[in-house]
């Protein structure tokens, strides 16, 4: 029941258009800190939305997180510290850019592995085909005869 309710809430929230995001009262007076806050919040997932960063979302939770990030930055924490804090509170799910570890090895390595394997297959097949372009096969006796016929008839 609770799960259904949660789903219903998620559904309602995700159907709302995201128009607002950062509010004027949230913006820090220090432009450098504000810029860092924007970069960080673009990499954090809004947990109650469907595939939106907290920078883009106008959900109340996203606002809370934006404010939280700014508070931590004002306290003098580094970007990494802020990220670590958010992960400790909400889990890896909050990161739009997953960390590289054993579980995400295939995620990060997969596309490049496919490029590598593809190149290797092409290279090996070419080697098998004896390197540079082999001249096209010579005409068979039949074909030569037909070619001669055609050439003769044109004369």
């Amino acid at each position: 029941m609770l799960r259904r309710l949660a789903l219903a809430v998620v559904f309602v929230l995700t159907t709302l258009p995201a128009a607002l995001a950062v509010q004027p009262d949230e913006i820090l007076s220090d432009p450098e800190l504000e810029a860092r806050a924007r970069v960080l919040s673009a990499q954090m997932r809004c947990l109650v939305c469907q595939n939106q960063s907290i920078d883009d979302s106008d959900a109340p939770l996203a606002k809370d997180l934006r404010v939280l990030i700014r508070e931590r930055l004002v306290k003098g924490e580094s970007n990494a510290q802020v990220v670590d804090y958010l992960v400790s509170r909400y889990g890896e799910f909050v990161l739009l850019k997953p960390r590289f570890n054993a579980r995400t090895l295939l995620l990060w390595g997969g596309p490049f592995a496919i490029l590598l394997i593809g190149s290797l297959v092409i290279f090996l097949r070419r080697r098998k085909g004896s390197g540079l372009a082999v001249p096209e096969q010579a005409l068979s006796a039949d074909e030569q005869a037909r070619l001669d016929d055609i050439l003769k008839s044109k004369e």
């Binding site: 799960r3 789903l7 258009p17 799910f93 055609i150």
Partner: protein, 659 residues
């Protein structure tokens, strides 16, 4: 009565599809021409029946017949007519009906225009199309019937989600489906060719125009969706790497690869086995996309588990068709003879690199989209994969491709001289460097990648123009001769140059909006002025207005540049009946250097409003670039060789005695 006719027609279409699949397939196997000959009429009949069914549903929507459950859930009597009609495909059941209608349309197009195909190939292609219809018609009839009735009939409907009530979004799904489903033709041709065990130039000439048409629809469909997101969602985002977007982007990438590899099959009789695989993959990814969007698996793995009937059914279809086609491929592909050897540095080699990079880029999108789902269902761990991931994987894979695009067409078939080809590009390289430096001077803030991106775009545009100049020998022949040459260029050459230039134009637009975007969030009272870039915007005030099915507050703004008033725009906050759902209409004023984008926000104390200003530099180039790609597709589609004698049956040459 009308919904029952629609229901009945749909059941008849299902029966026809079974017939269309089984009889011609059996006939082709037995070599029985009478059995094969039933394929075209069956395909036409199936399309007619589905079209009838679709018309019935549309009529129920237009009449606001709320006794039909689907109409009740997705329509409202106050909606404007166009959104009553677009509401037909604005929901699961109706959009699946549209899906099978487009599928049947393509099948009947093969039936109607495939007169010069070898009979057994034609019968098999139509039969495979029929088998896809069987699967999806049974899906609709068993799990997603759009004609279910309600008794007693409600008085008013629940309405269509207001952000979907938009002209671009009204035609976005039909276009996208033409693209998705159009790739089924390439799939059917590939499967039929595997069964026949024969792939030749004629086959490629048949497949390429269909793929091209589907690719064009997909391009236009994706662009419309992106454009809609840009002006409707309210902050000018145009691409989000959202799973639903990725679902349409993956088939697009593979279809692009297929378009290029089919050229090699056609011209050089090489890469045949690979091209067949791409044709299978392209449609398989369309099916994967349909599964992702239609099963509910995206909202949450749990949503999928709560109502699994639909998801499991589509997953079943997916496994049967992809698995079946790949198994057939593994079994039959080794028997297909390959021909046309080529050196690594050659046009063929360049197209192989194109295919490799596009496929790897598609793999990045695929892995990024599905990884969280797979990881969660296996280990229970929840992770998110968002835009930063795609920028770091898709980006590095697609950049080298874009860099190499101008070089490919300059290489000759079979064996080419790389040095000679690159020397011919010196002018384009010069233009690229100038543009890169100019971009750095114009906007030196922003990431270092931005000037490089601008140079890359310029490189592609300049190389296309240079190629055109070279082909007409513009500088060495009189102008009228050059003009005649220009007009005489084959459509495919025009298509390639325009489409490649289009990609370059789009790259510059993407760089503009990503790297140089400006954003101002502020609170304004009527009469306040805000400087946005080189222009100043005055908040004139707001007034309440009412639309056909909504009421709104409209804020008006006047834009002036250098003291002169340029124009006036407005932005609205709307509240839609009957759901009381709020939406925002943004105000956009396009200028040559970019769009000025104004969003009316929430009320603030003292009669003030939160207002957001954005300046999106060069964003029009994204739309122009995609439009050019589409136009390039058109030019290529009308190439003479697809119409004149192309797919004629190969005959042994008859030698005429010379007179």
């Amino acid at each position: 009565m009308i919904p029952e006719i629609g229901q009945f027609a749909l059941i008849l279409a299902f029966v026809t599809a079974i017939y269309q699949f089984s009889v011609p397939m059996y006939g082709a196997w037995r070599g029985d021409s009478r059995l094969m000959a039933v394929a075209p009429p069956a395909a036409l009949l199936q399309f007619g029946l589905i079209a009838l069914s679709f018309t019935c549903l549309t009529m129920s929507y237009i009449a606001s017949d709320f006794s039909v459950q689907n109409v009740f859930q997705n329509s409202h009597s106050d909606k404007p007519l166009i959104y009553k009609i677009s509401g037909v495909w604005g929901n699961h059941e109706g959009s699946m009906l549209l899906w099978v209608m487009v599928l049947a349309l393509f099948g009947s197009a093969v039936a109607a225009f495939g007169g010069n195909l070898p009979p057994s190939l034609k019968a098999r292609v139509i039969a495979v199309q029929g088998s896809i219809s069987v699967a999806f018609l049974s899906f609709i009839l068993l799990t997603s019937n759009p004609f279910n009735r309600l008794d007693p009939a409600p008085i008013e409907g629940q309405g269509l989600n207001p952000i979907l009530q938009d002209p671009a979004l009204a035609i976005h799904p039909p276009l996208l489906y033409c693209g998705y489903v159009g790739l089924s033709i390439a799939f059917s041709f590939a499967v039929a060719a595997l069964i026949e065990g024969k792939v030749d130039a004629a086959w490629a000439r048949w497949v390429r125009p269909w793929t091209l048409a589907a690719w064009m629809c997909l391009t236009a469909g994706i662009m419309l969706g992106s454009w809609w997101a840009y002006y409707e969602l309210g902050w000018g985002g145009w691409w989000f790497w959202d799973p639903v977007e990725n679902a349409s982007f993956m088939p697009w990438l593979i279809a692009t690869a297929l378009l290029h590899s089919a050229i090699v099959v056609e011209k050089r009789n090489a890469l045949k086995v690979w091209t067949i695989l791409l044709a299978i993959l392209a449609f398989s990814l369309s099916l994967v996309g349909t599964f992702l969007v239609r099963s509910g698996v995206l909202t949450s793995v749990h949503a999928f588990a709560v109502d699994p009937a639909r998801g499991v059914y589509v997953l079943g279809i997916l496994c049967v068709f992809i698995g079946g086609a790949l198994a057939l491929y593994a079994w039959r592909a080794p028997t297909i003879k390959t021909g046309g050897l080529f050196a690594p540095i050659s046009r063929e080699g360049a197209l192989v690199v194109n295919n490799l990079l596009l496929t790897a880029a598609c793999a990045a999108v695929f892995i990024g989209t599905l990884y969280p789902l797979v990881l969660e269902s296996i280990t229970g761990d929840k992770i998110s994969v968002g835009p930063p991931y795609f920028n770091l994987t898709f980006g590095p894979l697609i950049l080298p491709l874009l860099l190499l695009v101008p070089l490919g067409p300059l290489l000759s078939w079979k064996r080419a001289d790389m040095w000679a080809a690159s020397q011919r590009l010196w002018a384009a390289a010069l233009v690229a460097v100038v543009v890169g430096v100019a971009a750095m001077a114009w906007q030196w803030r922003g990431p270092w990648l931005a000037p490089f991106g601008a140079a890359l775009g310029a490189w592609m545009i300049a190389a296309s123009i240079q190629e055109m100049v070279a082909r007409t020998k513009f500088r060495s022949v009189p102008l009228n001769v050059a003009w005649a040459r220009l007009k005489g260029l084959p459509g495919a050459a025009w298509g390639m140059m325009i489409a490649h230039a289009g990609v370059g134009v789009m790259v510059i637009g993407v760089v503009g909006i990503t790297a140089w975007k400006q954003e101002i969030v502020t609170v304004m009272k009527p009469g306040d002025v805000m400087q946005v870039g080189s222009r100043s915007v005055t908040f004139l005030g707001e007034s309440p207005i009412s639309g056909p099915n909504y009421s709104a507050d409209r804020g008006r703004f006047s834009i002036s540049s250098g003291g002169n008033k340029v124009s006036e725009i407005w932005s609205e906050k709307r509240v839609f009946k009957p759901s009381n759902q709020p939406t925002t209409e943004v105000g956009i004023e396009p200028f040559i250097d970019g769009d000025l984008y104004v969003v009316l926000g929430d009320r603030a104390p003292d009669n003030a409003r939160t207002i957001r200003f954005y300046f999106h530099p060069l964003v029009w180039m994204i739309w122009l670039g995609t439009a050019l790609m589409f136009l390039g597709g058109c030019c290529s589609l009308f190439d003479r060789r697809y119409r004149v004698g192309a797919p004629k049956k190969a005959k042994a040459p008859i030698i005429q005695p010379a007179e």
